[in-house]
């Protein structure tokens, strides 16, 4: 029984219709449906590529980010994957393990200068490469820092936990704000592990033991993790930060409107915040909770599916897309960090003296990728629920224990994910 997929059949018919065109169709899936700016940028790259050569035609299909991963999983089940896959950095190992991705057929030398977070490497093999990285910082107004008499932290000398809490106390005591700190609890999903696991890591814990990748015991529920959990709970219990029921609109506008003193946010929101009228916006590095300041690394990247009929075409497109001019265009469009220093020089915000140049340094100095294991998607979900529950007042040690048990049970059920 030959098992043909719609995609393959479609591609086959396109070839049969070759009298009209001798081009091979290369399908591409992207997570940005609903975002006009991103759509325009990616379409530009595709149009340029299609016009630049006559062997391949890249055709894009866009998905809402919320359901993108589910869509890919379902399509993979059906053997229905596109040629070029857009993949979130931490999810890549799962897709590589599950056999969706093939090692990236491009010359490693061509991406030598790329930021570490933009290269998707699992088990020593390169599977994906990104046009940008993202970084998170503590947004603040210089005027707030001045009024509250706070030292401006730097990369070399970030705030300690005590200083950070003193800053929150000062903001709270001033009475000028609804909340001292906006963590972005309205953003469910990957934001939680991406933005908050670095705090845990700075406390000395982690989501999983990275030396073996077979258990979370002792790292997600050890003393350091429990200290993190107690601190995390106090942020909400003592009214420093809005909790799980924060509305998305408050997240978007609360800091800009001056209702939050500090905001833990990604660089993609920087342009909008500045345009929103925050003239003296400063980006403060993550506080150091004892084990050095940490932020999350790795963002969306491109890889080639294992079932791709035209890997050379896919590779050609990716090689085309990672040119500096496109990295710069993406950066200018949505404020993300371009993957190379040479592209950074071309951008408005990340060039020497640019408004967001600081993020380049943050990314370089503080970024730690999320656990590089096929088990990550489950770890991320379990972690998100544990943090949400602790924020709602659940017992810290019991919640973290339960999270460890669930992660370990999943790893066992998957025979260790090959580790």
């Amino acid at each position: 029984m030959t098992r043909k997929t719609f995609g393959a059949v479609l591609a086959a018919t396109t070839i049969l219709a070759g009298a009209v065109s001798a081009q091979t169709e290369v399908s591409l899936w992207y997570h940005g449906a609903g975002n006009d700016v991103e759509a325009a940028l990616i379409n530009q790259i595709i149009d340029d590529f299609n016009a630049s050569q006559s062997d391949y035609t890249v055709v894009i299909e866009s998905f809402p980010q919320e359901s993108y991963n589910d869509s890919v999983e379902a399509a993979a089940l059906a053997g229905n994957l596109p040629c070029i896959l857009d993949v979130d950095g931490p999810v890549m190992p799962r897709w590589a393990w599950a056999g969706y991705l093939q090692p990236l057929p491009i010359d490693a030398a061509s991406i030598e200068t790329f930021l570490p977070g933009t290269k998707g490497i699992w088990n020593g093999t390169l599977y994906s490469v990104g046009l940008w990285d993202a970084a998170v910082a503590l947004y603040a107004r210089q005027s707030t820092l001045d009024e509250l008499g706070l030292r401006t932290p730097t990369l070399d000398s970030p705030w300690s936990q005590a200083e950070f809490m003193a800053a929150l106390d000062a903001a709270k005591a001033s009475g000028n704000f609804d909340y001292a700190l906006d963590l972005g609890m309205a953003w469910k999903g990957e934001w939680f592990p991406y933005a908050f696991s670095p705090f845990l890591q700075s406390f000395g814990g982690d989501m999983i033991d990275r030396s073996t990748y077979t258990s979370a015991e002792g790292v997600l529920n050890g003393d350091a993790a429990i200290a993190f959990g107690e601190w995390w709970q106090s942020l909400f219990a003592e009214g420093y930060a809005p909790g799980n029921s924060q509305d998305g609109a408050d997240r978007d506008s609360g800091f800009i409107d001056g209702r939050y003193a500090f905001q833990w946010n990604g660089n993609w929101a920087a342009v909008a915040t500045m345009n929103g009228g925050v003239d003296d916006l400063v980006f403060l590095p993550a506080p150091d909770f004892g084990n050095g300041p940490v932020i999350g690394g790795a963002s969306w990247q491109f890889g080639v599916s294992a079932t791709c009929d035209a890997p050379e075409g896919a590779a050609a497109w990716i090689a085309h897309a990672i040119q500096d001019k496109y990295l710069a265009a993406f950066s200018d469009g949505i404020g993300l960090i371009p993957s190379t220093p040479s592209a950074a020089a071309l951008t408005e915000n990340y060039a020497e003296g640019g408004k967001l140049e600081v993020f380049f340094g943050l990314s370089e100095a503080q970024a730690l990728v999320r656990p590089v294991t096929p088990g990550y998607p489950v770890i991320a979900k379990v972690f998100e629920k544990a943090l949400a529950d602790i924020a709602d007042g659940a017992d810290v040690a019991d919640t973290l224990d339960a999270a460890v048990d669930e992660i370990d049970a999943d790893i066992e059920a998957n025979n260790g994910y090959g580790n």
Binding site: D70, L77, G243, A388, D398, D401, D405
Partner: protein, 357 residues
Amino acid sequence: MANSLTRQNRAGWLMAGPAFALIVVFLILPFFMAVAFSFTNQRLVSPNPTEFVGTRNYERLFGIATLTLEAERDETGAVVMRDGAPVYPRLRGFTRDQERYPQYFRKREWFSFERAGNRRTYVLASDVVFLKAVRNTVLFVLVVAPVQAGLALGLAMLINRRIAGINVFRAIYFMPVVISMVVVAMLWRFIYDGNDGILNNLLGAMSFGAMPPVDWLGNPWTALPAIMAMSIWQGVGFHMIIWLSGLQTIPASLYEAAEIEGASRWQTFRYVTWPGLRNTAILIMIIITMQAFTLYPQIAVMTQGGPLDSTQSVVFQMVERGYGKQDIAGGSTISVFLFLFVLSISLLQGWLTRQRP
């Protein structure tokens, strides 16, 4: 005769066959697949082969153990008290020690109760979240079914009058029924918003600011009731109409007779209206119960099971596990449980409402 019978067989199968086949393929067969998966380690995505694992998935869902602990005592032998209650050893010491306490390994406190002599019994479960989901779902059914049926009957009696414009009101009361639950849940997020939600503003205005705002969906005590209230709002019109049709089958002559007898309103309801609605009542309870058991879109749109698992539902857990965490076997195990549960409730309802001679 035989010939005619054969022809009837063929006609019968030809006509009923397609519908039956669809039901077999798209409901019955997948259900048996779920039963089969529940005894394996089937994942949605995995290069590992599927293996038979016996009843492991069921043990994970329903594993329960009890543990009774003595209160902690200081050197003098007196019970250590904190905040006026005896202090007990932490459960972690038992649940994380596979060597010494394999029966408690990877279990978590579900609930506990104090016993005489400064002892406390803890009921530990392997999957507390699932058990909470079961409890919430049962609670949802137990509250929503009678309240919704009762309100629907009240509305039906209210509009069962021939006065001008009554059709307009009837149409309005039914309106939420034709709106998608997904849309309804989105709208009610504004009503329940903790800061400037419509409900809080309304209550604040009615109490002249005395009533502090409540984070309806963010508080473990109010989240499930809030979802119940919204679900009733959406569905009550449907059942109102069914009651109404039941009311209209009661002959007017019975009411006239009651009036002549001088019966009070309550007596009229008790002895005329209610007996005439018996079959309708059974139907409505069955419909509401079936709908309430599949509580899902409200949870997915509004709370994702939180806060603190106070709105977890069985179907939400099933989707979360089978699809979200890609554990087909785990999700299928919940499917099987849900089916058996709904089946036993139906049998119970059938038995309770059986026609007594």
